[in-house]
């Protein structure tokens, strides 16, 4: 047969998100708490910089690794997390953090390599590992431990033999954040068992109780970690598709080889927006984070009032309450009965079962109405 997808693709199911997207699209009275991107637009100064670059005809490729001016700005920006990378040789600008994850997997995995992925987690990692010829190994985390990754959880899942670990904290879908000690324990496990780490830190700017700790800054980790970050979440630039990878020069050089043959360079217009975002939009970032923090506290106290267990998420823009039973049925009935869209936790792996991902990237008024509707749904159920 012609155009037959290969086994890796054929065996990868469509994301469970898709189903809820389609259900939600069928009605027009839906308030969605199912959105994985900020409800703010990119800062106006960043947008005008993009517009000005277009007017000036800046529409050609950039250097493979991205404009040096942007890499220099990134190098300065990430110092807030004690990350020190040389803009010339240790930073690669990519088409979204997603491309950076894919590049890292395709650059470093040998066929059949095992990649530990803590669950529940962002839906793209396991398919990404498979597409790159690796084998994902699920490492469950649980509400009992605030969805944190521990050496014990890694050991129990058999991750001591893994070749790599994808670490995503602050976490999508749970909003969990690992503090310095918790991250250090995972780092020690990785050093002891010689495991490389792909650290997806896309939500690093959105922590509400202390600063983000990057695993790459811990002893023995810099040489075995690719740090991935981007502009989508912190600067509300999802549609501009701009991320970056940072790591030791040889590793970035290798990733750039894959990048230059597949992507050439990240979108030029987005790079101009990003330079301006880093130059002048710190206030927008801070205001957005302040607003998210208020909504976070609001949402968590509302779930407490409803009697749904909801651990105190400390990052990103998600809460992850337990719904007491089948999360998929809960989410479907809630959408049907009350017109509120949420994402069932099991979409993010079996460890997410019995939970709901609640995105609070929605205006306060809608958020209040949505939570009232959930409350009356819970009372009648």
């Amino acid at each position: 047969m012609t155009l037959q997808p290969n086994d890796r693709v054929a065996e990868t199911p469509e994301s469970g998100i898709r189903k809820f997207f389609e259900l939600a699209e069928e009605r027009d009275d839906v308030i969605s708490l199912g959105v994985g991107e900020p409800d703010f637009s990119a800062p106006w100064a960043a947008r005008t910089a993009a517009i000005d670059s277009l007017k000036a005809g800046k529409t050609s490729y950039t250097a493979n690794r991205g404009k040096l001016e942007l890499r220099e700005a990134i190098a300065t920006h990430v110092q807030r997390w004690d990350q020190t990378y040389d803009p010339e040789s240790e930073i690669l600008v990519t088409t979204g953090a997603s491309e950076a994850v894919d590049l890292a997997l395709r650059t470093f995995l040998e066929n059949g390599d095992t990649v530990a992925v803590h669950e529940p987690t962002y839906i793209s990692y396991e398919p990404g590992v498979r597409f790159a010829g690796g084998e994902p190994l699920a490492v469950p985390t649980s509400a009992d431990n605030d969805f944190l990754l521990t050496p014990a959880a890694l050991a129990d899942a058999g991750a001591a033999d893994a070749d790599a670990l994808i670490l995503c904290y602050p976490n999508n879908p749970t909003g969990a954040v690992m503090d310095a000690d918790e991250t250090a324990a995972v780092a020690e496990f990785c050093v002891e068992h010689d495991i490389d780490v792909i650290a997806d830190e896309i939500y690093a700017a959105l922590t509400y109780d202390g600063d983000h700790t990057s695993i790459a800054t811990l002893p023995g980790m810099r040489e075995r970690t690719i740090v991935i970050n981007g502009f989508s979440k912190a600067y509300a630039m999802t549609g501009l598709r701009l991320g970056y990878a940072m790591g030791p020069a040889e590793a970035i050089e290798a990733m750039n080889r894959v990048h230059q043959y597949t992507m050439l360079s990240a979108p030029t217009t987005a790079q101009y927006a990003a330079i301006e975002a880093l130059r002048s939009c710190e206030d927008s970032l801070r205001e957005m984070a302040t607003e998210f923090d208020r909504r976070r506290r609001f949402v968590i106290s509302r779930f407490e009032e409803m009697g749904l267990d909801c651990f105190t998420a400390k990052g990103a823009f998600y809460a992850f309450p337990a719904c007491g039973g089948d999360d998929e049925a809960f989410a479907e009935e809630l959408l049907e009965a009350k017109g509120v869209a949420v994402v069932p936790g099991s979409v993010f792996g079996p460890a997410g079962e019995g939970h709901l991902r609640i995105s609070y990237a929605t205006g306060m008024n809608e958020l209040k109405t949505a939570l009232q509707r959930i409350e009356s749904f819970v009372e009648t159920r």
Binding site: S15, I17, F20, F21, A24, E25, V30, S32, G34, V35, G36, E37, D39, S41, Y122, I123, S124, N172, T290, R294, R295, R297, F298, S301, R302, A341, V343, M364, K368
Partner: protein, 162 residues
């Protein structure tokens, strides 16, 4: 951020927020919020609560003007005295001492242009300390008190996304 500053920042976005919802957002209880509000009101930082109104969307006659005011000070008359004299008129919506080419920036409102002009010519211009007034009538308001009247950034996100 301390609780008072956080409360102020929240009120500056939405002063009509109810106390229970404020408490949830600040991770505290309603009684504490009431207490803080009382303190902010009595100590001075919170001077009042007002709606941001787009008068052009109503059928009410409403005219506003920005007036530049130059004054001459003498031994008995300082900025404070002049400000006190002008601020007491209800037609004066705001009054600020500013740096630059003129001294006071005054926002004056009324039912008609004639109303406003008359107020300036009869009540403000004749004051002994006032040497010059320049009146700019507002023709269109695009943004007020941080609120964009243009509704420029619509939400076109996918309803559910990873």
């Amino acid at each position: 951020m301390d609780a008072k500053r956080e409360l102020l920042s929240l009120l500056s976005t939405d002063a009509r927020e109810d106390v229970d919802d404020i408490a949830r957002q600040l991770d505290t209880d309603p009684d504490t919020v009431e207490q803080l509000l009382t303190e902010l009101e009595s100590e001075g930082p919170v001077r009042g609560y007002q709606a941001v109104i787009d008068w052009d969307s109503t059928d009410t006659n409403h005219v506003a003007a920005h007036v530049e005011l130059n004054v001459e000070l003498d031994r008995d008359t300082g900025y404070e005295e002049i400000a006190d004299r002008i601020a007491r008129f209800p037609a004066v919506e705001s009054l600020r001492l500013v740096s630059g080419d003129y001294d006071f920036a005054v926002k004056v409102t009324g039912d008609s242009m004639q109303d406003v002009s008359q107020f300036i010519s009869e009540q403000v211009a004749p004051l002994p300390a006032v040497t010059q007034t320049v009146t700019h009538f507002v023709m269109e308001t695009y943004k007020e008190a941080g609120i964009d009247f243009g509704d420029r950034d619509g939400d076109d996100r996918l309803s559910v996304s990873p």
